[in-house]
Symmetry: C2
Subunit: 270 residues, 2 copies
């Protein structure tokens, strides 16, 4: 396909359309930046697959974005960040920014955080990437990690106010509350849509940190540091490419982006 | 990889490991048959993806099986049957057997079936393949089709006795019961594991037809008709190849197969 922007855009990829929550946050914070978004919807989800497969898919995603001369790559997928970021950073010279660093920073920004709950896909939890990053930086931190694989399907079905969703969340979260968590880190780009229900379940007693918003802030700091912020005038263009197109993905894209997405194009990798 | 059996085996494929419910039924009915099973776990699920993508993936799956000289191919995936079977039948000379024909026959085996509920993935329902096949054969049949995308994740999480699962099923099934269905067709290879809970919810008032068992019976008739039944002695070998290997897939395989699976190998397509 022909992209309207090329050199100088931010490349953002995710296994599917969940990463558009990151795009939304980036557009709010950095409206000047042009964005090329790649969602690997033909092979979504990554969260249940093996580390080797996630690394191979992520590598193909980055190569696609680099073919379009992006100035930096954002890995808007927790599972891909957890398993592939070190490999990607080693392999490519362009700055590659994941979601984990940002989430960890946001958790530790509160010096009183002592017991941190993390919810994420099976792959992210199994990677121990968050647990490791947190434990390295604050001694004595208690970390309670819980894989919550049913949340992505429930969000994708838009069951955000259903009794069944509440039951599922309670089953996942209650044991964490019993262990006295003071912070809950949403380590999956789908989960911000569950914040209202999570606030209800945790009765406002827990600080909720979401990886989408924190990633945008982290990205701004990184772009500033690397002198890569767009200084131009006017708002940047967003272009979305998906490896599989379906009505459902387009509807989902609108929900994650909270507005009508621009024209979505099907792209091929490799 | 090296397969122990080659020429003369049955090739069975699915988007993931759900098709092992079909394998189980085939092994019970046709224990002499050697089986090469291919699960495309690297790209699972197919049920939420577009018809074009499902056809492309299914074609790659069949080509892989044909490279191993199978005598017939079973499409143990409802979504792949719904979108790809006609194309596959046209393209290849080997007999290709899907799950839909079998399910439709089983529904119509009861002459009193008047109102048939169908539950399946979004892709299967959207294809109208079952609705079309049923409507063609019995005039006046009332068909109530419902996409039930949350059931696969719940089955894969083994939440077979959870209150949340019951709530989800009730939300899907109650409107069908209100419409007076007398038959419920489980048009997804994952759903046989939900039969106990479905019987509870339907209070035994509805005939439940599952596509896994019926597919094995249909396959036997087809192999007989084509003179392809294995007349040899001893039980056939089962070999499982998956495009992605993970602990979770191996656990799931055991659950769908209801016994410890043979050694599972990672295979590459295309």
């Amino acid at each position: 396909m022909t992209w309207l922007v090329n050199c100088g855009a931010l490349g953002i990829f995710d296994s599917g359309v969940g990463g558009l929550t990151v795009v939304r946050a980036v557009q709010e914070l950095l409206p000047r930046e042009a964005i090329i978004y790649l969602g690997d919807t033909a092979r979504v989800p990554y969260g249940s697959k093996s580390p080797e497969t996630i690394r191979r898919f992520s590598d193909e995603d980055v190569r696609y974005l680099l073919q379009h001369d992006v100035k930096a790559v954002v890995v808007a997928c927790n599972t891909a960040t957890a398993h592939a970021l070190p490999m990607l950073e080693q392999k490519y010279r362009v700055p590659i920014i994941g979601v984990i660093e940002a989430g960890v920073e946001a958790v530790l920004a509160d010096p009183n955080s002592q017991r941190v709950g993390i919810i994420a896909t099976r792959g992210t939890i199994a990677s121990h990437a968050y647990q490791h990053a947190l434990a390295q930086r604050r001694t004595g931190l208690r970390i309670i990690a819980q894989a919550t694989p049913l949340l992505v399907p429930l969000v994708e079905e838009n069951w955000l106010n259903e009794e069944a969703t509440k039951l599922v969340l309670q089953k996942y979260i209650s044991p964490m509350l019993d262990k006295g968590i003071d912070t809950l880190l949403l380590a999956c780009t789908h989960y911000p849509l569950l914040v209202p229900m999570l606030q209800e379940i945790t009765a406002g007693a827990v600080r909720i940190v979401d990886s989408a918003t924190t990633c945008a802030e982290h990205l701004r700091r990184e772009l500033l540091r690397l002198d890569l912020l767009n200084e131009g005038e006017g708002d940047g263009i967003l272009q979305i490419g998906l490896t599989d197109l379906s009505e459902q993905f387009e509807e989902l894209a609108e929900r994650f982006l909270r507005r009508l997405p621009p024209r979505i194009t099907r792209v091929e990798l490799g």
